[in-house]
């Protein structure tokens, strides 16, 4: 029985990670072949550095990911605080369901509807080309927000609700009370919300596809490449992205574990 359960876990891991492992290995292949590993080389990584389309796209992706993560973290934290302060239960759950919709909604619906809105609004203010940097940014903030709210909310609920009052009582202005008392105690939630938002934004394809116009992000550039033939420099790039996300996820999990252990000790 024990052997079977171990085998089961091993199988799951193989199915989950085999494709990534293959990609990882072949990104170091010295030849272009996807079935013969001819020798170890970093050629594809070198090639990547000179591939300007891909590098531009990478820059776009990173910029959008960082900006949208920062903005949605600020907005989402503020929103979580506001939602928790709502007195009536009905309004609270109503607001929560409304904020959760972008998360539940099919990406394609969110993408198309956002595109429509942007184009419509762009025409309204007389723009020829309304899709671009700002529209992707807004779109990414939109789908990141609920994740930030959901990761900040439980932290807020765990903290003593008199914490801001205690700070006011000790002479803080309301703003100081937030930064000195509330924010430090919900920081793990805020940070994990930020990482969530960053990784989600990093690999979003569907919504970006509809809203980016000429401001193409990496997933879109890679997708466009697949219409021709995929060269192994795409493997190299994907490997880099995977490793980045992987590291962030480990960070996120250790953060969560640490704060949970603290709560358990209490």
């Amino acid at each position: 029985m024990k052997f079977l359960s171990k085998l089961y876990i091993a199988l799951i891991l193989v199915f989950l990670y085999a494709p990534i492992l293959v990609m990882f290995i072949f990104s170091f292949n010295s030849a272009e072949s996807v079935w013969v590993f001819e020798g170890f080389s970093l050629d594809w990584y070198k090639e990547l550095i000179y591939n300007s389309t891909m590098l531009t796209a990478l820059r776009h992706t990173l910029l959008i990911a960082i900006l949208s993560a920062i903005i949605s973290t600020v907005l989402g934290t503020a929103a979580a605080i506001g939602i928790l302060q709502l007195r009536k239960k009905i309004t609270k759950s109503l607001v929560m369901s409304v904020t959760n919709i972008p998360m539940m909604n099919a990406d394609i619906v969110t993408g198309i509807s956002l595109m429509l809105l942007f184009v419509f609004f762009g025409k309204l203010i007389g723009l020829n080309e309304s899709l671009g940097f700002f529209t992707v940014l807004i779109a990414h903030i939109t789908f990141n927000l609920p994740y930030v709210i959901l990761s900040v909310m439980p932290k807020l609920q765990q903290t003593d609700k008199h914490l801001p009052e205690a700070a006011l009582d000790l002479g803080c202005t309301p703003l100081q009370a937030f930064f000195k008392a509330v924010l430090p105690s919900i920081m793990p939630g805020v940070f994990s919300g930020f990482i969530m938002a960053f990784t989600l934004s990093l690999d979003d394809f569907v919504i970006s596809y509809f809203t980016c116009g000429h401001y193409q992000t990496l997933p879109i550039v890679i997708y466009n490449m697949t219409k021709k033939t995929v060269t192994p420099d795409a493997y190299a790039l994907s490997t880099i992205i995977f490793v980045t996300v992987f590291v962030l996820l480990i960070l996120y999990n250790t953060m969560q574990n640490n704060s949970e252990r603290k709560v358990a000790r209490r």
């Binding site: 008199h162 009052e165 205690a166 009582d169 000790l170 002479g171 000195k180 105690s185 603290k262």
Partner: protein, 374 residues
């Protein structure tokens, strides 16, 4: 400032939350350097009163005076009061030292002065040596002490305490009661203490404010409150009481349970209907022939110090505390001294508190103040 000057005054304070009245025309003067307790069941408005003084709640009507200055609208961080919160509200990301130093740092106190003050406070609450400890590694009692030190480090003129002992176990609670009282006398500042525990209120306070339903029912010293309750609510809430329907025949003569009794109260109209309170420890059990009233023992509980027996007199169940052993079914006589009878005007609470026919151990557990008062 002189001892008896008022430090905080509440004038005609009314508050409603979502249309529900929480405080109804509260008038209260709090004297400088006194230990005053707001006592009442949950939902009586005691915590709201405290929060109005702290500046967390603005009254809909009425004025809050501090040192004779109106402080309505002054935000909490500009008031010279500090609060100890129910679950302490300590800052989890700071250690013991930094928690205590918090208020001083906000005020930009010079480092040297701050360090002296923090160490002095930690010494006062017996936490020296725990400066570097994280809050979540402290016991409940230690957290309580940090909360006290954090509040008084700011030299408040008034310390507000919102049920600070509710989360501690019984033994620790008793110790902290003594300690709080000691700290209050040492600092010589006003303590406004909120609790629903009548024993705590009686044993710690200079004055007690009994509240119910958003109104002040009675203000007085613990002895006043216990011996001269103003209405049936106060009599029932503080300690055990037999509350009977009666008539004031004349000054110093009351009638209840079908008999006439001498008492010490006067100033009522002739034949005015009243509520009569007789404390269980003030009733003597005597042979039938000498009794003013007679009844049948229906239940006995041995409590160590004394017996608590229920005696049925004409259908009304009296509670009596006695050191003489009785047996269920015994016919006994009761003797009541004139000074054991307390007469109260009829109020909205009259008739709400029945006899001890549904008496159970559980009720006894909630209110065991008699031992202290005997």
């Amino acid at each position: 400032m002189r001892q008896n000057e008022n430090i905080v005054s509440l004038k005609n304070i009314s508050v409603a939350f979502d249309g529900e009245t929480v405080l109804d025309d509260i008038n209260l003067d709090i004297r400088n350097k006194e230990f005053i307790t707001l006592l009442g069941p949950s939902g009586c408005g005691k915590t709201t009163t405290l929060r109005i003084i702290a500046g967390f709640v603005e009254p809909d009507k009425g004025d809050v005076l501090f040192d004779d200055n109106k402080i309505n609208g002054v935000p909490a961080h500009k008031r010279q009061v500090n609060t100890i919160f129910q679950r302490y509200a300590l800052f989890p990301h700071l250690n013991v030292y930094e928690n205590v130093a918090f208020g001083l740092r906000v005020k930009k106190t010079p480092e040297k002065e701050l360090d002296l003050k923090v160490r002095e406070m930690l010494k006062l609450v017996n936490l020296t040596g725990l400066e570097k400890r994280k809050i979540d590694t402290l016991s409940g009692g230690q957290q309580q002490r940090v909360a006290i030190a954090r509040a008084i480090a700011n030299n408040p003129k008034v310390l507000l305490l919102d049920e600070p002992l509710a989360a501690l176990d019984l033994k620790l609670r008793k110790d902290m009661q003594t300690e709080l009282k000691k700290i209050q006398q040492q600092l010589g500042i006003t303590f406004i203490f909120v609790t629903h525990d009548q024993e705590e209120a009686l044993s710690m306070s200079d004055r007690v404010v009994v509240m119910d339903n958003g109104k002040i029912q009675q203000v007085g010293t613990p002895k006043d409150i216990y011996n001269e309750p103003k209405n049936a609510f106060v009599a029932d809430f503080i300690g055990e009481s037999n509350i009977l329907d009666g008539v004031m025949i004349d000054d110093r003569l009351a009638e209840f349970s079908g008999k006439k009794f001498e008492c010490l109260d006067s100033g009522f109209e002739k034949n005015e209907p009243v509520d009569v309170v007789v404390r269980p420890e003030d009733v003597d059990i005597v042979p039938l022939s000498k009794g003013m009233l007679e009844g049948v023992v229906t239940s006995i509980t041995f409590l160590g110090v004394h017996y608590e027996i229920i005696v049925d007199i004409g259908g009304f169940k009296w509670m009596i505390q006695t050191t003489d052993e009785q047996f269920v079914g015994d016919k006994v006589g009761l003797y009541i001294e004139p000074d054991a009878i307390h007469i109260m005007k009829k109020s909205e609470y009259s008739g709400k508190y029945g006899d001890y026919s549904s008496y159970s151990e559980e009720i006894d557990h909630l209110s065991d103040v008699e031992e202290d008062e005997n």
